[in-house]
């Protein structure tokens, strides 16, 4: 197992981004993380890649692990595409001829014209920059591949190529963040995680959760042990609980003078 996380949390300047992220990443079992914008997906991926520290919890990485990372926003660099891949390959100790061979094959795969190699990255289109991002991540066979929104900016055929490419990485543990549920489900059937109220949960678990909105905006603390999360606004409070506790908690809320505004199932 290249990496495992146990109750990992991250805060910036005392503000919690997410908490209790627990997962193990294995080869042949791609993992996908979903969640709304700003929920902490990119932060979690950076922590997994090892470029950002976590605040609490435990991360165990296999010693000497080789990690590749494709960020969500690849920088607009002043290098020509071909030169950039050469630099990144040389840093990994790959020979120039092997890097060129790899670049040619990937250019063919993603349908990039040959002349783009000589184009400066910051002048490339959004889609081409994303393809360069993917190409640098696949330069060598890593033990762990971390990709943040890799499908963003890609055309339909390139999305298919990337899914095929991911399927070929059999000895690599892969973790991806993704916005589209259908794409996520094509990559993994059972290893889909969702950020729900600052905590990372398996999508199968989230379907067992219910969200209750109550008035006034303070739920009190008489059933804290059964609450997964609370989100208090000025005049309303949203609490998330397990479906099995719904009846009991609704009864307690009404008994304590709360008005139930809505009850909804949680969704990915």
């Amino acid at each position: 197992m290249p990496i495992s996380l146990k109750n990992v949390s991250k805060s910036f300047a005392g503000k919690l981004v997410f908490c209790n992220a627990t997962m193990s990443l294995r080869a042949n079992r791609p993992t996908v993380i979903m969640g709304r914008n700003g929920c902490g997906k990119s932060t979690l991926l950076k922590i997994i890649a090892g470029v950002l520290a976590h605040t609490e919890g435990e991360i165990v990485r296999r010693p000497g692990i080789k990690i590749s990372y494709a960020p969500d926003r690849f920088p607009k660099l002043p290098f020509k595409v071909g030169d950039y891949l050469l630099h990144m390959g040389r840093i990994q100790g790959i020979s120039d001829s092997d890097i060129n061979k790899y670049a040619d094959s990937q250019f063919d795969r993603f349908g990039i014209p040959e002349n783009i190699k000589q184009q400066v990255i910051y002048k490339c289109s959004k889609g081409t920059i994303q393809k360069v991002n993917i190409m640098q991540a696949f330069l060598t066979k890593p033990d762990l591949l971390v990709m943040d929104e890799p499908f963003s900016g890609l055309d339909e055929s390139s999305v298919e190529e990337l899914i095929r490419l991911l399927a070929e990485t059999s000895d690599t543990a892969v973790i991806i963040s993704c916005h589209e549920k259908l794409l996520a489900q094509r990559i993994t059937a059972d290893n889909l995680y969702v950020f729900d109220k600052q905590s990372l949960v398996k999508s199968s678990e989230i379907s067992n959760r219910v969200s209750i909105k109550i008035i006034p905006g303070d739920a009190g603390d008489f059933f804290n042990d059964k609450i997964i999360s609370t989100d208090t606004a000025e005049d309303m409070c949203e609490i998330v609980i397990e479906k099995e506790n719904l009846k009991e908690i609704l009864f307690l809320l009404l008994e304590n003078g709360h008005e139930i505004y809505s009850v909804n199932p949680r969704e990915c």
């Binding site: 950076k46 890649a49 090892g50 470029v51 950002l52 520290a53 080789k66 990690i67 590749s68 990372y69 960020p71 926003r73 690849f74 920088p75 660099l77 002043p78 290098f79 030169d83 630099h87 990144m88 040389r90 840093i91 990994q92 100790g93 640098q136 330069l139």
Partner: protein
């Protein structure tokens, strides 16, 4: 891997054109210094060595911050060795400085400014002294960009320290003992530059004091560089 990282850093830095202001100012200074200064070649070499310190300081401060932060993550992971990744930054600046050392010595040699022929060993000593002062400049420059000091006050502190190191306060205030002693704890920029000046008209012969200053300067630069790498390895993950 270190060589590949240095080539990449230099290529990135040159493309960023951040090198232009310090390099242009240095070349203009060099031309003016050798052409117009009436104080003699030996003093000129002292002054140019201080200019090399400022150039090295400036170049390293701008090179360390030239790489895009997201790209830094990617490069670090490709390198798979944080120590080598951070070490590559000062090594890149030291490599960039080599043509300037040569230029600084070549101009007076070609112009025939020396009153006598320099021995090969003396040319080597000058280049070694420039290298030491350049390395000290690099180490001070990266140290103040290692996130130990942050914000606008860090820039001010960096400028003040650079001024303190370049201006020989220990000579100006030689009657104030604490100032004189405090200088022995700071990077020995002026002391090393003094060694160049003191060669003067006499042929250089290696003595213990020169060796002691060389070891002192080298140790100081290595210590600051090691501290930079240590801090960056810790801070980059926060």
């Amino acid at each position: 891997m270190l060589v590949a990282l240095v080539k990449y850093n230099i290529d990135y830095y040159i493309k960023s054109v951040r090198y232009l202001p310090p390099c242009l100012i240095f070349v203009v200074f060099l031309a003016l210094n050798y052409q117009t200064s009436p104080i003699g070649i030996w003093s000129n070499l002292h002054i140019t060595s201080l200019a090399i310190f400022i150039l090295a300081n400036w170049l390293s401060a701008s090179l360390v911050n030239s790489e895009d932060k997201t790209q830094q993550y990617i490069t670090r992971l490709h390198a798979n060795n944080d120590t080598v990744f951070h070490l590559s930054k000062p090594v890149s600046v030291i490599t960039l400085l080599i043509p300037f050392y040569v230029l600084t010595l070549l101009i007076p040699l070609i112009a025939g400014s020396f009153p006598r022929n320099l021995h090969v060993s003396e040319i080597f000593v000058y280049l070694a002294a420039y290298f030491l002062i350049g390395f000290l400049g690099v180490s001070v420059g990266i140290f103040f960009n290692s996130n130990i000091f942050t914000g606008e006050s860090a820039i001010m502190l960096h400028l003040i320290v650079t001024g303190v190191l370049v201006i020989p306060f220990n000579v100006i205030f030689d009657n104030i003992l604490p100032v004189v002693y405090a200088y022995y704890f700071l990077p020995p920029i002026n002391f090393t530059a003094d060694r160049l000046h003191s060669l003067g008209d006499d042929r250089f012969s290696a003595d213990w004091t020169f060796l002691i200053f060389a070891v002192w300067a080298l140790s100081y630069a290595i210590m600051l560089t090691a501290l930079y790498i240590f801090v960056m390895r810790r801070r980059n993950k926060e």
